[in-house]
Symmetry: C2
Subunit: 328 residues, 2 copies
């Protein structure tokens, strides 16, 4: 620990779904369905987020031979208070459920936990899922969308989308090879409008730990992706590695891939639980299957704040979990 | 699945701490420290809850030979939005952290996840922790304490306390023998003032699954404990088993053990993440060490609601996870 190596875990069927901004973004072709607004055919934004999860689950099963009874366990998490989106989707499936909260780092965490349960032979197949919605997150963490509150340059735009992935011990093209569980770091930073810079420190810590535990350096990977560090956090992460004389030339951030920052109003980039999930299960998965990339490290990043902690002027701790995907 | 059997996981050092109501309750002697109010020497209730966690961690380490570096991973969760109590306590330890959210069923879930990581040889020693506070929970989920809002008869009183437990693969007196992961059940119920009855259905489902998976019946255990079903939920659970012609005569609820319902103003009983944690690591652990009980099943129960889901008049799904402890 903290890095677990897997010998027999594979990524099988998965689905990603999104909304308007994702439809207008550069990865639109990777999605199973894209809605034209944040309601996604429902009456409330929260039901809209659940609708996306329902779609992601349906497509994942539809694209595979797995039935509900084949899945031994599922791990999920989202951004809403008491992860209600995850609870409601889980109530629709007769599958044991482990609820996680790790803010925007939920994707790598749930994937890693699912993989470790498969590697241990507790189950043959497991689901990892996550979701976020710009509308539900904005009104919970910041202000209702209708207020049109002015944003700071360093603010990110929460991705609206959901993902579902089946991991299995049956041999498939993409292998899940390792999982580095992050520790919580509190650097004393407090600016909830600049979470990229806060989380960059956690990403740096987890990537360094991963390299050390695996006895590799950054050149091992074709691509290293952080979850949602934004334009500013990405710069910070690159600078942190430069201090160690490491030029991270194979690195990018999912929040800068899912949107076209030049032409879409996303401020410093995309963020949210769905950000690293959609980019990994959309863009990265495609590239791996085509063997354009063979080894990718996904480092989902999370800022661990609540409106109460911010209101009480407390610090914002952060965490990052990493998972590696490889093809041969 | 969903029940995992463990061969080499033991409960080692642990600590429970609490506040005024717990001090006035029947289990006061089991605690490492008990405060006289909900602030626990801090300026805010949230800092108070964190203070309890800090104490629980300190006592757990102090009562053992383990150092921070000996712990491979920790699993924690609490009731607050974005589990901030768990994040802040984790930021004080250089240990990989998995954040969970499972409402008041967090205790059995974190214990079970920690045990499964030890059984798989991913780590030798792991921590499971949880906390809840009447003051932080009341103002987040209901109304500020100062309002003195009138309560329904079926309302429960959130326990103020924190727990920390070290699980290990080194042989100790108390063995963690199995872990049944619950599924989310949505019965369509909506009364947030009567969560005991909602969760009773989940407890019933998980206990039945546990018996089936383990090929045992209720007589296998000296004691079966649910987390926080309250006076009313306990009755419901007994009735559900009666329908199956099972007289659950070795059953009680932690929320009815931690407080003296006749003489303390706790309405239908105690509840919260800390409820099953304090009763298990206090009362049950002592009885096991004295061999007064040899086999105990702990079924922590959780109601998966948020103020948003209640405000939108949505249903309240629930979940229950079970863990068994045995001595020889």
């Amino acid at each position: 620990m903290p890095t677990i190596k897997f010998n027999s875990v594979y990524l099988d069927s998965s689905s990603i779904v999104g909304s308007k901004m994702e439809k207008e973004g550069p990865l639109a072709n990777c999605f199973d369905i894209l809605y034209d607004d944040l309601y996604c055919n429902e009456r409330t934004y929260e039901k809209g987020e659940l609708h996306l999860l329902k779609d992601a689950f349906s497509f994942t099963f539809k694209k595979s031979d797995y039935k509900e009874k084949d899945i031994g366990i599922m791990f999920g998490g989202d951004l809403l208070n008491q992860i209600t989106s995850s609870s409601y989707i889980s109530s629709l499936y007769n599958i044991p459920f482990v609820g996680t909260f790790s803010a925007c780092s939920s994707f790598a965490l749930t994937l890693g936990l699912a993989a470790s349960y498969i590697e241990s032979n507790y189950v043959n197949n497991a689901i990892a899922f996550t979701s976020s919605s710009n509308a539900t997150a904005e009104r919970q963490f910041r202000y209702p969308l209708e207020y049109g509150v002015q944003k700071k340059e360093t603010t990110t735009y929460t991705v609206t989308g959901a993902s579902c992935a089946i991991l299995t011990n049956s041999i498939r093209d993409i292998k899940v090879t390792s999982f580095t569980i992050g520790r919580v770091i509190d650097s004393g930073l407090k600016d909830a409008s600049d979470m990229g810079n806060i989380m960059a420190i956690s990403a740096y810590d987890t990537i360094k730990t991963h390299f050390k535990d695996m006895n590799i350096d950054h050149t091992y990977y074709d691509l290293i992706l952080t979850g949602d560090l934004s334009y500013y956090g990405k710069k910070t992460l690159l600078n942190l590695f430069k201090r160690d004389n490491i030029e991270l030339d194979n690195y990018d951030d999912c929040g800068l891939i899912i949107y076209d920052r030049e032409n879409q109003k996303v401020f410093a980039g995309g963020s949210g639980c769905a950000c690293s999930a959609l980019v990994t299960l959309g863009y990265v998965k495609e590239k791996l299957l085509k063997r354009e990339y063979k080894k990718v490290l996904i480092v989902s990043t999370g800022a661990l704040l609540s409106t109460t902690s911010i209101g009480q002027k407390e610090t914002i701790p952060s965490i990052a979990h990493a998972i590696s995907l490889e093809v041969y």
